[in-house]
């Protein structure tokens, strides 16, 4: 009797356990709409636009075997608030939006000028979104950028990221910290973020899979062009690619730099920076005003040289000097422009804010103290590699 009761109880327990929620959070890959790239825009009247580029797994597979199904689809939505889109999406997309793995975030320039505060707050409150995602500012229409196929990579987001990485690594004309994370981090203390600008080359998007059948690599492809300066989530200006590279050098973030030095008529040399330069940065108070002294110490490689005679240490010294002058000139011009436009490019404001002690109290209270700062930047390069050419070929330049 008791045994039967016990068996019955066990059976009951098992039966009640069966309908328990087990995997309510399960995600079936076939039911997900994997978002690869997101674009956001805002019209003048406040209507918000969002674009989701969604990967089509079948398309990715079939396009490898020569089929012409699209590997990606772009969906566009309109709404009054950012939070609306996730629910709006299900009205057109037959799958559940899966946003946590997207590659790039495209923000229109006009939205950036209005301010990104609302958007950033919304993004940060979503636990599934990675904030360490690359962010780009679209020059021109976001729609065009979202609606183009790119060569070599199946997903435009991936390609955009690779282009950005390569630019940062090889030419130094992109800031690695062009990420949503940086925008959020810099939001409170007013330091600047440098977000890469992208535009479409040729101006026209290439929006059919015919893209994969043409040889024109450039057409409708992305181009990085300098960076926008974002302060507290708002666009305040932009830097040309060369200016960005100069700035990154002073900040010690630059990894690559190639400089053409003209020695005299018909004689020139190319110097390449080898590693990230060492930066010596000292902020002090001079007569109550902050003074910043930055010394940049790049290590250079002599890539090529076209000058008469054997390369000797005198020549190398001269090249170093010319290189220093060139860069100091460029840095000076950039800082002068920044001063006129009131950009705190070197982050002096933040550095002052981190100082302690009563001497700094006055400067800390004044949010514009950095504008009075006396900035001097000097470059001290040294050539540590001379390449495989020991003596340049004099050749045609001989009389």
């Amino acid at each position: 009797m008791i045994t039967m009761l016990r068996r019955g109880l066990i059976l009951l327990a098992v039966l009640t356990a069966l309908p328990l929620q087990g995997c309510a959070d399960h995600k079936e890959i076939n039911e997900l709409a994997l978002v690869d790239m997101v674009g956001v825009d805002e019209r003048e009247d406040g209507t918000k636009l969002a674009y989701y580029q969604i990967v089509n797994p079948n398309g990715v597979a079939s396009s490898k075997t020569g089929g012409s199904r699209s590997p990606i689809y772009t969906f566009a939505f309109k709404g009054k608030s950012w939070a609306e889109f996730s629910s709006n999406a299900s009205s057109t997309i037959p799958r559940k939006l899966f946003i946590s793995h997207f590659q790039a975030y495209i923000v229109s320039e006009r939205l950036a000028k209005k301010g990104l505060g609302e958007l950033l707050n919304f993004l940060e409150s979503d636990p599934t979104r990675r904030m360490a995602t690359s962010v780009f500012i679209a020059k021109g229409s976001v729609r065009d950028i979202m609606d183009t196929y790119v060569p070599l990579a199946r997903s435009p987001g991936n390609e955009l990221r690779s282009i950005h990485e390569l630019q940062a690594k090889l030419t130094g004309r992109a800031d690695r910290d062009s990420q949503v994370k940086t925008l959020v981090e810099n939001y409170e203390d007013g330091s600047l973020a440098f977000v890469s600008n992208i535009s479409l080359s040729g101006g026209e998007p290439f929006d059919t899979t015919k893209r994969y059948e043409t040889i024109e690599g450039n057409r409708g492809n992305f181009t990085l062009s300098g960076a926008s300066i974002i302060r507290q989530g708002r666009w305040i200006g932009e830097l040309k690619p060369e200016q960005l590279s100069t700035l990154l050098l002073v900040l010690g973030k630059e990894r690559a730099l190639i400089e053409d030095i003209v020695l005299s008529k018909g004689a020139s040399a190319q110097l390449e920076m080898l590693v990230r330069p060492r930066i010596e940065r000292r902020l002090s108070l001079k007569d109550g005003k902050p003074a910043l002294r930055v010394i940049v110490k790049p290590k250079l490689k002599l890539m090529s040289i076209n000058a008469a005679g054997k390369i000797d240490s005198v020549m190398l010294r001269r090249l170093e000097r010319l290189f220093n002058q060139r860069l100091e000139g460029r840095i000076g011009a950039l800082l002068a422009e920044a001063k006129a436009k009131q950009w705190d490019l070197l982050g002096i404001g933040r550095q002052i804010g981190r100082r302690s002690g009563s001497r700094w109290a006055a400067a800390k209270r004044d949010p514009n103290a950095w504008r009075e700062a006396e900035v001097s930047v000097s470059v001290r390069s040294s050539i540590v590699k001379t390449g495989v050419l020991l003596t340049p070929y004099a050749g045609g330049s001989a009389p």
């Binding site: 240490s313 040294s382 050539i383 540590v384 390449g387 495989v388 050419l389 020991l390 003596t391």
Partner: protein, 361 residues
């Protein structure tokens, strides 16, 4: 330690390899720049002068058979002064190690692996040398012996193939001698690589017979080979091209075309060169650690080998700002510095020795 011996053949190979090692990769282009088509004469006369200047040490080694460099110093000069002299020689050995590594990492980072950090090469290479030196001179000698046939065969094939693009007109005009280019400018070659030869006195006790005479014979062979290599470089790359490139042999290997699918031999040649560099490095390092151990009265050099290696890797990275300064330094300071250890010191020792003997008699 007493039963270790180095056979005659091993000794020959070590001497030739250490003479060639870094010199034959670095020197030809500066030699050709200075002496033009007569560059091949330079290794001959500098070799003669360099080997002649190691004779005082060899004389000392013969008078004090069964003693090595450090022991000779202490025997003749007494303990305190002997140790001082030993320190000078040890400093020389350490700097040669650092130099060899520096040349090696310079080569690697300018040609084959441009992105890699220099200390990685230094550390990896010196680690191997350290292991070899710990195993003793026999291990180094046997390694050299093992590598020898391979190296000889590969380099012969390489040079024979390179001779395809030989051009006799590179040697014209043969008559015009630029004496300053042949004699004065490349005179540093007396020092590097030939004056380093005094280090072999460290292993003379392990050699059964006539170490000195054999050393002279093999160093001379090394000089001949260097001359031959310079001759080939001149003939293949030409007087107008060779001085421009830092590593002429590397360029030769790059441009060598055995057939349309077998070209770009530079990595292979570089690896062969590493074998030569390895012999010189491990030998010099071995000398340095045994020298330190003897000077400080330790049983073996094993204890200080690793810290010494760390120190050398540190020095190797800061030898020069760049290759150009390295070459300028060599031309200016190398001969005076080397003469101190290779000529002045042994002559002093001989003088002291003679005076002592006379007093005793």
């Amino acid at each position: 330690m007493n039963d270790t011996t180095v056979t005659m053949r091993q000794f020959h190979i070590i001497v030739v390899f250490t003479t060639l090692s870094t010199a034959f990769f670095l020197l030809p282009s500066s030699l050709i720049a200075d002496a033009k088509q007569h560059a091949w004469l330079v290794p001959l006369w500098t070799g003669a002068a360099g080997i002649a200047s190691t004779l005082p040490w060899i004389y000392l080694a013969r008078r004090h058979a069964r003693l090595n460099l450090m022991q000779i110093n202490e025997r003749i000069l007494g303990r305190p002064f002997g140790k001082l002299a030993n320190l000078m020689l040890l400093f020389h050995m350490v700097i040669v190690c650092a130099w060899v590594l520096n040349n090696l990492d310079d080569f690697m980072t300018t040609t084959l692996m441009q992105q890699t950090k220099e200390w990685v090469f230094d550390a990896a290479f010196l680690f191997t040398a350290l292991y070899a030196a710990q195993k003793g001179i026999t291990a180094i000698a046997r390694t050299a012996e093992l590598f020898a046939p391979m190296l000889i065969a590969m380099f012969s094939v390489f040079f024979v193939l390179a001779v395809h693009s030989w051009d006799w007109s590179q040697f014209a005009p043969a008559a015009e001698f630029d004496w300053s280019g042949i004699l004065r400018k490349p005179s540093y070659m007396i020092a590097f690589p030939f004056m380093d030869g005094f280090m072999f006195v460290m292993i003379f006790p392990y050699i059964k017979e006539k170490a000195g005479a054999n050393y002279v014979k093999c160093a001379a062979a090394g000089a001949l080979l260097l001359s031959l290599i310079t001759f080939i470089v001149t003939g293949v790359l030409g007087v107008s091209r060779a001085p421009h490139v830092t590593f002429p042999l590397f360029v030769m290997a790059q441009e060598l075309m055995i057939s349309s699918f077998l070209e770009h031999m530079e990595a292979t040649i570089a690896i062969l060169w590493f074998a030569l560099v390895f012999v010189k490095l491990s030998f010099t390092f071995y000398c340095a650690i045994t020298g330190i151990a003897q000077t400080c009265g330790m049983r073996s050099g094993g204890l200080i080998a690793v810290p010494l290696a760390i120190l050398i890797v540190g020095f190797a990275q800061s030898m020069h700002r760049n290759l150009i300064e390295n070459l300028e330094w060599l031309a200016r300071y190398l001969l005076p510095y080397y003469s101190l250890n290779t000529l002045a010191l042994p002559l002093l020792l001989i003088a002291v020795d003679l005076i002592r003997r006379r007093r005793a008699a």
